[in-house]
Amino acid sequence: MWQKKLAFVFPPFASEYPDDPFSNLEGFDDCFRKYLSRAAEFADPSLNKFSIPSSTFLEDELETQYISYIQACSLVSWFRGKGIIPAYSSGYSMGIYAALFQAEVISFLDGLVLIRQAFKEIRKVVGNKKFGMCSIIGLNKNDIEQLIEKQDLNLAIAIQNSVCSFSVSGPAKDITRLTESALQEGALSARLLNVTVPYHSSFLKDTASTFTEFVSQMQFRHPRMPIVSLIDQEILLEDNTLKVEVVRNLFTPLNWYETQLYLQELGVNRFVECGSGKGIVKNARFIEGEAVSMTANAFSASPETQLGYSA
């Protein structure tokens, strides 16, 4: 059953694991264990140690990315089992790999391969340099750009989530200075993110050539549903444009705010955050429009009813 007004959004890697985030989804745990076991066999045996509730792997960026991807793919599978297929798929930040899996562009294992390779390319570029990211809530884009300029900081806005919520990337010491000055400027919150990589910024531009070469050798299929770019809100329908998107996703700023607004223009009135957190759902309250955003766990045994559609 294709849901014309439904979009799945795949979040970036988790910064925490809430206790039992999928407790309402009957049968989900078996599904997750199946995918986890395949991933452990294929990519990293230690993944088998993952359990909830726990803070397993939160200090390891690659393993956290694997877990978030495995959870997202398990949710895709669970929803498919219930006959729920969204009209659009969208991957927020490193959620792009799960969005590709949802649209059947890549296999589950190829998603793991892409995550591992992207991480390797990033590490090569970052080397021993200390980078980071921070989130700032309560200032607008102009305020943040002025703070960066005034202090001559080497930073870039990496993600816009709403008119007053942003993530910024750059060298760790400049990120720290920005968080301090943002609070003085009147930000309601300015905090460091638990990452050591300046995602979605030109600091990672040098990943382009080798990652392009790697991705070009992978098999991408045409998507079964449109994937919407967070970079420029283009509808991506071709395997080749998706390959380009996967590469530039690493070093190009994203705009989730414009993406959600655009999806709403296309008629989407339900967004489901396919991950263990609820960051995208919470953020949606600050985006105009009547669309409803919900976590995957907001579904019960009768998800069709929750979605407000008839079968």
């Binding site: 007053c164 009147g186 309601l188």
Partner: protein, 102 residues
């Protein structure tokens, strides 16, 4: 500036308590003015922002987020009681909130 009546604090208190009970999925009876919003009920800054927006609409307030942020740096809010106090000041003083420190 918004007109503060005897009922305003009661109204604000009810809204704040119900908001946190719903958002943090806790029982109303488990909340009190000393409840620490982050440590005890896992609240966050987006919730604070949402409450501000609720009160801005409800009382048609003229106040910039930055003004509230600057005030909050000097008067950090940790508990529900402190949050209610700050909301009352925001409603009463709006964009002149920072003048309270002069």
């Amino acid at each position: 500036m918004a007109l503060i009546t005897e009922n305003t604090r009661k109204e604000v208190t009810e809204i704040v308590y119900k908001f946190f009970a719903d958002e943090c999925e806790v029982d109303l009876k488990d909340l009190n003015d000393s409840t620490n919003i982050i440590k005890d009920i896992d609240g966050d800054s987006l919730m604070f922002l949402e409450l501000i927006e609720i009160f801005k609409k409800k009382y048609t307030l003229d106040i910039e987020l930055k003004t509230i942020g600057k005030y909050a740096v000097k008067h950090p809010v940790q508990t529900i009681g402190q949050l209610i106090d700050m909301q009352m000041l925001i409603i009463e003083h709006e964009n002149k909130l920072l003048e309270l420190d002069h």
